[in-house]
Amino acid sequence: MDLLNALVAFANFVLVPGLTYGSQLALGALGVTLIFAVLRFSNFAHGDTMAFGTVMAILFTWLLQSWGISAGPLPTALLALPLAIATTALMVLGTDRVVYRFYRRQKARPIILMIASVGVMFVMNGVVRMILGTREVKFDDGARFLLAPADFRATTGLAEPLAIRTTQAVSVVVAVLCVAALFWFLNRTRTGKSMRAFSDNEDLALLSGINPDRVVMVTWIIAGALATIAGTLYGLDKNYRVFVYFGMLLPIFASAIVGGLGSPIGAILGGFVIAFSEILVTNAWRKILSYLVPESWLGEGLWQALSTDYKVAVSFVILIIVLLVKPNGIMGGK
């Protein structure tokens, strides 16, 4: 019976990874939710927009590194982010101009826009593969740990170490800053308010003189920025691989729908709900339990409800339960 060690192990294996992954998912889900709120379709290309943004961040990171610029203990990719965001924003605006605008003017059904987004997904996936191929890229630099396990053990004298990697801390801090900025923008600025008005009632917004093209443009820029940040943070944390971003599509959509599609607060909540449930279900509880109950009680097993390969099943089951029980999500989206 050793409560303190159990708590530290819990923080190390569940709390810290959950907060990190939750922040990344929340940023991704915010992008999906914003596009849904304003443009009214589910953007299947969002995963690949994230991949594109990450590739841009990687390229600019390499450029900065070749110039000898670094961010000290922080990853250089943070410095590359503004440039990556700018290119990604240009790219999504380009797709809007070439693809989506036509259907919007036609007032096509949302499902047609969604199918168009599948085409965009193909193109973007191809572009991303042409730039970096399908290999794994590791691009985090700077200090590896904010809190190294050895230091923690030396200071506290506990058997169980607690490690916080720099990328994990960066993920959470950047996500908090982004969310704060986004909410300030949506609630306090004129453009943000017009975006919300447009999302609530398009006709009324048009009647009161809101320029729809401007609202759509700002939405794409914000969604592109959020996708770039989410993708880069995820890539810093777990290395870049093009397939992984396609796989993020489901947890991201699950987060957005669980929170309530179209509701920004819901997207954040949903991100953490999905992240923590994935980790709680796929975590091997043996280590944490071994501090709480006698070793002999535990037997042979890892005390893992599902292997980590079934992460996707967890977000799916939560998605289905929410859709069946509360179809509008926690925060009551559209």
Partner: protein, 431 residues
Amino acid sequence: MRNLSLFAGVAMLFVLTGVFQSWNLSLNILNLALLSAIMAIGVNIQWGYAGLFSAGIVGSVALGGLGVALISGKPAAGAWAAGTPRIAAALAFAAVAIALAVWMQRKLPKGTSRSLATILFLVVAFFIYRGLLDPAVLAVEANNSAQAGHIGGLGLNSLWAWPVGAALAAAAAWVIGKVALGLREDYLAIATLGIGEIIIAVLRNEDWLARGVKNLIDLPRPWPVPYEISLQADPDFVGRVTAAGLDPVATSAITVKLIYAALFTLVLLTLVWLCERALNSPWGRMVRAIRDNEIAAGAMGKHVKFRHLQIFIIGSAVVGLAGAMMTSLDGQLTPTSYTPLRFTFLIWVMVIVGGSGNNWGAILGGVLIGWLYLAVEFLGPQMMGYITAGLPSGELKTRLAESAAHMRLLTLGAIMLVVLRFAPRGLIPEK
């Protein structure tokens, strides 16, 4: 007339591939394209007839493949004694537990206590299920794990596996449909995307089922298709081929592929005949009426939800059939090859390009895009070779040559977007 020339044009593509590359390659592509066309028919049934957007096609394809592994795979000696019955019992227990949970939800009075009771019941049932399953799985996987380590197949002819693959996909579609149909169309897309991923995850990780990522090889060929080696050993065959002045080795490979192509064409034509009959029957008119206006069709007394479920199951079964045929053709089950881009979204491109709602359109799209997808593999680098011929050899040139290998996603995406915008009804529109 226009349609005929379109099909003739696609046929020309295959002839050109045969003349300029090799007939072997051309037939390879043709076989895969025929299978793609069958998958496209399945998706067309769902989307073209009823407007159901499923993003989990890859799951049906994989289940079809699993059907082949279970029916025509070699039996694994000792697996039955090691624990196959116990695995079956565990799965049956899981099915009963889920059915009970659904029954509880329906019969008990609504409220928090009902939800809590159901959750508690499911958690307890889950642990009992794992307790039943885990030892049996360990025993089966330990049984000759280098060659077998799975429950094995029945060793029957591969042809029997085709309907079984379709039935597996249909059964999965029934479960999915019960849960996800009736949701908004984009929710349906996301839910099916999840189911597809889960099916693939199961195939990859459950080694006891079909060896997971260790792959199941040496699946026997369907009945009329001979092996190249036995053809080359057949004096009758060799005699006739040499009399015609052909190389026996190359001809045997082509003969095998031709027999496959004939089999697949037979299945394809049967399906088209059935689909055309269905589409032009009262059933077909009802289904299209539901697609075009659910509320009006409902008011006319049509059972919209039931019809959606029915069509979803039929479409998935057709895709599962094609998946089973593909595994028979490959002779192996490789779970890592089932990627959503290749088997969900590519099939979607085929249906959109060909013309949704029209069976012939789906076939044309399937064969055309099937050809393109595989042909870009050799055309892309060649074209890049011509384009970069003037460049001095250096890093830029090698990078461009490398990137050409990834061109097919880009090409297909661009084609889909262009068709969707300028010919939204596809090459052969619905009548």
